[in-house]
Structures are given as structure tokens and as C-alpha cells.
Subunit: 256 residues, 2 copies
């Protein structure tokens, strides 16, 4: 019998040093847990990075959205459930549920992954690589009760609020700026006082282009209302004038 | 029968987004794993933070040293073994071994923890709080074959190389700059090119005072030789002139 877990489930702990000053798990670390769950589940299905790498193919995270009703607190144990909702040629739609030990749902996530050829950096038809193995993993049995991932439109009122020079710890195994680190840098645009009275309800992030260690990152921020912000992250290679958008993010806060 | 695990052992994975561009686990994340192992083991022994907090007591990390012969690579599974070597009034000496799945030892760690009264911020006699429970956990059965934690003397040739303003993600549950984040910021003083040819052999860090979110951190660096560096981290509260040393670190690199 061939047993297929269309819904992967992986246990995590809200580690104390991954929590903010309110004792809440930082969204960047929660994002990391979702990406890990995706990676583990793909590996189980036989279409993980270890299989793709020798074929010169790779999964690339295109979009990620997380919507929370409650944020795990320090030492909370939770599971990330993950499943593939659909695959449309170059893109795989993978969802997540963040579930507490007592069955309480903290929140949900959605993501879009593209498969690329690592030599040409061009998108690849997913089924042409994974074949039926991946098809068997698509499930509509579980629902993800949150809106689709936003395209994140940046208002033209956006203002440049910060510039950082990316460093050693920002760079991932592929030599690109780490997807999780973008979330961390973006959320650092608000100060401690703001987070004392606001918590994140929803975060949508779209990864547009890759940046490299040593690149400058500019953060342009627009405010739709006092609780909804759009952030455009723009890279600039040192000593070059040209700026290129690398990602955009929309954040919905709620007040305490 | 009362069974005491004088040597705690906890499993970790070198997660892909915790690895650098060479696919090696970042030392800041390894440090986090050691601190987690210490926390879990103290909790098992009945002298963890959950017991201390209601008594208005807390463990405070005073020093940490890590010495590696090999650094775990992405997806490596490893265990952190931890045990208490000795307790001297205000200070507990806790050691670590980082052990691969096949028994290979990646490296060792040493740490010194102080117990403080969270109301007065003064040190507390450890046994007066934990009693014999903690004594039963002291073991000399396992050796930690690395030199004692260094006091880290800063050479007076130190030069200010960088200043950062601490942000939301730098602050831990106690409202202080996160011990792990100091390591991350310090290791960011060297660029990608440097890490392409150098790896960390040993890191000693001494935590001297606490800094808070919004504080400026200055990084003063001295070089003993081309492979040994000392870093003094100095805080400055915004719009104040006074500078206070918050931690100091000594790093030994090896060349590839």
C-alpha cells in the first residue's frame, strides 16, 4: 500500500528567543516555520529540494500570506499543517493551518511557489518535472478560510523611510537575501511603542526579484489608513544608481 | 524511583533558512539552540524560568563560549547535550556538546549563568532558591574538552566600525536586547567575501549590561592578528551622550 499524506503536519515550539517583548512569536519566525513545513512536505512527496537540485531545478517562493486570529506565545506548542490546493503550470498553491495542541487554530497561510530552472532562471512546467507524483498530492479536502494572496498594490504616496546595507546573516544558502529576513526587516520599520498597542492581523508578501549580500535595501512605505500599510523594498547595488524592486508587502494591524 | 537526567539531550535540525550562503548553520542560531537546551534542561530539573518567575527570580546569561571543529550543514540533525559542571554561589557553570546523529562531535560549549532577583536586579545565592534539587544535577561524569570561557580583554587599538539602532526584532521577552541577536550583529561585521575563506573556530561572548529597544549599539573592533578579533559593544541611549559597555566578544577564525 502506498500511503500519501496529502496534508503534512509538523510540530514546532514558540521558542523563547524567537518571541518579541510581548512574549509573542515573531512573524518572521512563524514564516520560517511555514517554509520549513512546506519543505518537509515536499521532501516526503519526493519533490523536495534534494531531488530537484541534481536536476538543476528549484522551488522559488513567489508569494506568502499569513492571517492570524491569535499569535502563539512563548513555549506554546503548535503544528503547521500544509497541503497543496492546486498546481497551475509554473505555480504551486500551497496552504497552511497553524494549529495549537488543543486543536485551536491560531491562523492560516497561503503561498505560491514557482519552479525554475537554476541554469536559465526561467520558470518550468511543474508536472513536466514531478509527474503524477505531485498530482497525487493535490487535495481539495481541506479548506483555507482566508482570502487569496494579495498582489500588493503600492500607493504612489509611498515614502522612503529606511535604507539598510544587507549583511552576512541576511544571505541564504542560494546566495540571495533570505525570504524570512525581508519579513524581519520590514516589521522593524515600526518601533516597540507601536507594537505595544498593535498586533499583526495579516501579512502578504510578494517576492519580485532577488537581492544579494552587500546590496542596499530601501524601504518605501505607504499608509492606506492607520492600520494598513504597504511596503516596497527596492535594491540598489553599491555604487550603482539603478534601483530595482525586490519585494512588496501589505500589513494589516489591529489595535489592542 | 526518582530518575535524574544529569545530562540533558535535545534534538535539533540545521534548518535551511538558518544557514549561511555556504550552507553552514549560522553561529547565532547554534547559540540559540544551546540556550534552548539549557532552558529545557533547567525546566526538567524544576529550576526553569516557569518556576523562577513567580518567585521573582531569573536566570541571566553571563558568558557563553562555543568551540567548533565542524559546523553543522543544512538539514544535518544533531543533539545538544547539556550538563551542569558546578555551581559557585551566584553562578552556574553549564556545558554543552553538539553531537551529530552518527556520534560525531561538532563542538562544545561553555556558559555561565547568574541567578538574579528581578525586583532588585541583584544576584541571588543559587542554592538558597533551588535547594538540593539543583545540587543533584551537578555532574563531573562528562568532560568538556575546551578552555574555560574567556574574560575577553579588549585591546586599546579597538576602532569603531559600525553603529546600529536596535529595532523591534532585537528585543526579547524581558524587554532587553536578545542575547542571540548580539551574536548575529557582531558576526555581521565581516562581509560575505571574508566568510567565503574563513570559518569560526571559537566564539566567546561576555554579557556585561542590558540594552533596550531603540538604543544605539556601537561596535568597536580590535584585531590581535588576522584570525583573532575582539569586539566591544557599547550602548548609547538616543539623544544622550553617555556610552555604556553592554557586551564583549572574542572570535577566532580559521582559514580554508
Amino acid at each position: 500500500m502506498n500511503c500519501i499524506n496529502t496534508i503534512g503536519s509538523y510540530s514546532f515550539l514558540a521558542e523563547p528567543f524567537h518571541c518579541d517583548f510581548m512574549g509573542k512569536l515573531l512573524m518572521s519566525h512563524l514564516g520560517n516555520h511555514l517554509l520549513n513545513a512546506a519543505d518537509f512536505h515536499a521532501h516526503e512527496g519526493g519533490f523536495g529540494m534534494s531531488v530537484l537540485q541534481p536536476m538543476h531545478k528549484s522551488w522559488v517562493l513567489s508569494r506568502l500570506a499569513i492571517e492570524m486570529t491569535e499569535i502563539p506565545l512563548a513555549y506554546d506548542k503548535f503544528k503547521v499543517e500544509t497541503w497543496i490546493e492546486s498546481v497551475v503550470r509554473y505555480f504551486s498553491n500551497r496552504n497552511y493551518a497553524i494549529v495549537g495542541s488543543n486543536g485551536k487554530v491560531y491562523g492560516y497561510g497561503r503561498s505560491i511557489w514557482a519552479m525554475i530552472d537554476t541554469d536559465t532562471r526561467q520558470p518550468v512546467d511543474i508536472f513536466s518535472v514531478t509527474g503524477n507524483q505531485k498530482k497525487a498530492y493535490i487535495t481539495t479536502e481541506k479548506l483555507c478560510p482566508m482570502e487569496q494572496v494579495s498582489r500588493v498594490k503600492i500607493l504612489n504616496t509611498a515614502q522612503r523611510l529606511k535604507t539598510i546595507c544587507t549583511a552576512y546573516s541576511d544571505v541564504d544558502m542560494n546566495g540571495h537575501i533570505n525570504s524570512v529576513k525581508y519579513i524581519e526587516h520590514i516589521l522593524n520599520l515600526w518601533n516597540i511603542d507601536f507594537y505595544a498597542h498593535h498586533t499583526i492581523k495579516r501579512l502578504d508578501i510578494a517576492y519580485v526579484a532577488e537581492a544579494h549580500g552587500g546590496d542596499l535595501l530601501h524601504f518605501d512605505v505607504a499608509c492606506r489608513d492607520e492600520l494598513v500599510y504597504m511596503v516596497r523594498v527596492v535594491k540598489q547595488i553599491e555604487n550603482h544608481e539603478q534601483e530595482t524592486e525586490v519585494c512588496r508587502c501589505e500589513i494589516h494591524f489591529v489595535k489592542y
